[in-house]
Amino acid sequence: MLSDPNTFTSPPGRGAAVALEDVHKRYGEKVVLDGLSLTVASGEKVAIIGPSGSGKSTVLRCVMALEEPEKGRIHVGDNWIGFGSDRGDGSRRSRNAEIIKLRGAVGFVFQQFNLFPHMTALRNVSLALRRVRGINGTDAAALAEGALREVGLGDKLAAYPQQLSGGEQQRVAIARACVLQPQVMLFDEVTSALDPELVGEVLGVIRRLAEVGGMTMVIVTHEMEFARRIADRVIFMEKGSIVEEGSPERIFGDPIEVRTRQFLRAVSER
């Protein structure tokens, strides 16, 4: 086990948008991430699949600093933060500032949408523009409106979340993350809470985002067909570790590991 920070492998190469280095995370006794390392290149679309409890969502939550690992480093672009024995000696204050900076480069879409129920769709999307970016109300509203049009909700600006369908709510959530133009977007099982007939519209929005350009995406999903079509690379995780990774063609067509085969067979029989 690596314990001396100096023995770390060389930092992720140039062009890496996100990297996790030897990240350990446990909830109580349960090990969720077991020294996981992962590098995502800039512009790359990575899909993470695996059984529930395999730690795939925790990977995303650690990148967003919603979870604090016991050990390891998280890189986003040129910034990184360390945890446990990899933690620098910065003050609490400077560390918070680093976390805020890191989050500024990353967008996150949650399984449960987590829209703000007391705000209209427009205000949900414009909030961070105003409060984080310091953009004035009029300009923020215009940007937010543009982002909502992009996800096909130009006619729902004044709607409150409870007046929207699950699919529409999730599209607002995507607009809310995208409007900040993050370098990296993280999607955490974004269709798992949706009625089946609403899954398509949300996946369609993500696919369009992926086609538009150089945005890096890490997508945790149970939608295998979607993963196959959108991802440059598919990662199969189990018990807090990466079991196998490769191109979608290879992972879905000709997986090497027994556990990957078992998982894919179980999923296809559902």
Binding site: G104, N114, P161
Partner: protein, 223 residues
């Protein structure tokens, strides 16, 4: 002079007393709402050190009588050079005492906002203060309005204690009038009617708000 004629003759003193009661309640509630929110936020954020102080503050003020606190503010503090006017003592005393209660109401409200709301704010890059102000507190507030309303009514009634520190609010005024006219029955009956005719409608309002809040929760669960 008949009873009715007597009561009519003291109407302006009684009205003056009522105004002071309402002022003390309003100002006391303003303190209770502000300080209580601060205490609740400290507890919810579990700020090291401060959180324990806040806990003790709540314990202390919930477990000592308002009357004793008022005596301390009014008779003991001046011995240490802190002299406050009777009205100010009353307002601060009420406000501080009730802030210990409102803090717990606020805390319940803050804690029932789902964790996902904090996370969504964090993921957007908002700092803790901005998350609280824009996202958490507005959502915490609505369901606890009835609870706060109940304490407003309690405070309105407890403001009668202020008469012991020489504030001439409703009770103080009534006592003063009775001491010179000896019309205790008439004056105290009127006093009861005044308190009741304000408290009861207010409590009906709170019940309506409670029912509405419960409906709101159901709607939120359904969506």
């Amino acid at each position: 002079m008949g009873t009715a004629a007597y009561l009519w003759s003291v109407r302006s003193q009684m009205a003056q007393g009522l105004v002071i009661t309402l002022e003390a309640t309003g100002a006391g509630m303003a303190i209770a709402l502000t300080v209580g929110l601060g205490i609740a936020v400290i507890r919810v954020l579990k700020l090291p050190g401060l959180s324990q102080v806040a806990r003790f503050y709540i314990l202390f003020f919930r477990n000592t009588p308002l009357l004793v606190q008022l005596y301390v503010w009014y008779y003991v503090l001046p011995q240490y050079g802190i002299v406050l006017s009777a009205f100010l003592v009353g307002v601060v005393g009420l406000g501080i005492q009730f802030s210990a209660y409102t803090a717990e109401v606020y805390r319940a409200g803050l804690e029932q906002v789902p964790r996902g709301q904090w996370e969504a704010g964090s993921a957007l890059g908002l700092r803790t203060a901005a998350i609280l102000r824009s996202i958490i507190i507005p959502q915490a507030f609505r369901p606890i309005v009835p609870g706060l309303g109940n304490y407003l009514i309690s405070m309105f009634k407890d403001s009668a204690y202020l008469s012991v520190v020489t504030v001439f609010e409703l009770l103080g005024t009534t006592e003063q009038l009775a001491a010179s006219s000896f019309r205790y029955t008439a004056l105290f009956t009127l006093l009861g009617v005044i308190y009741f005719s304000l408290s009861y409608p207010a409590s009906v309002c709170v019940r309506v708000l409670e029912r509405r809040a419960a409906r709101g929760r159901q709607n939120a669960l359904r969506s």
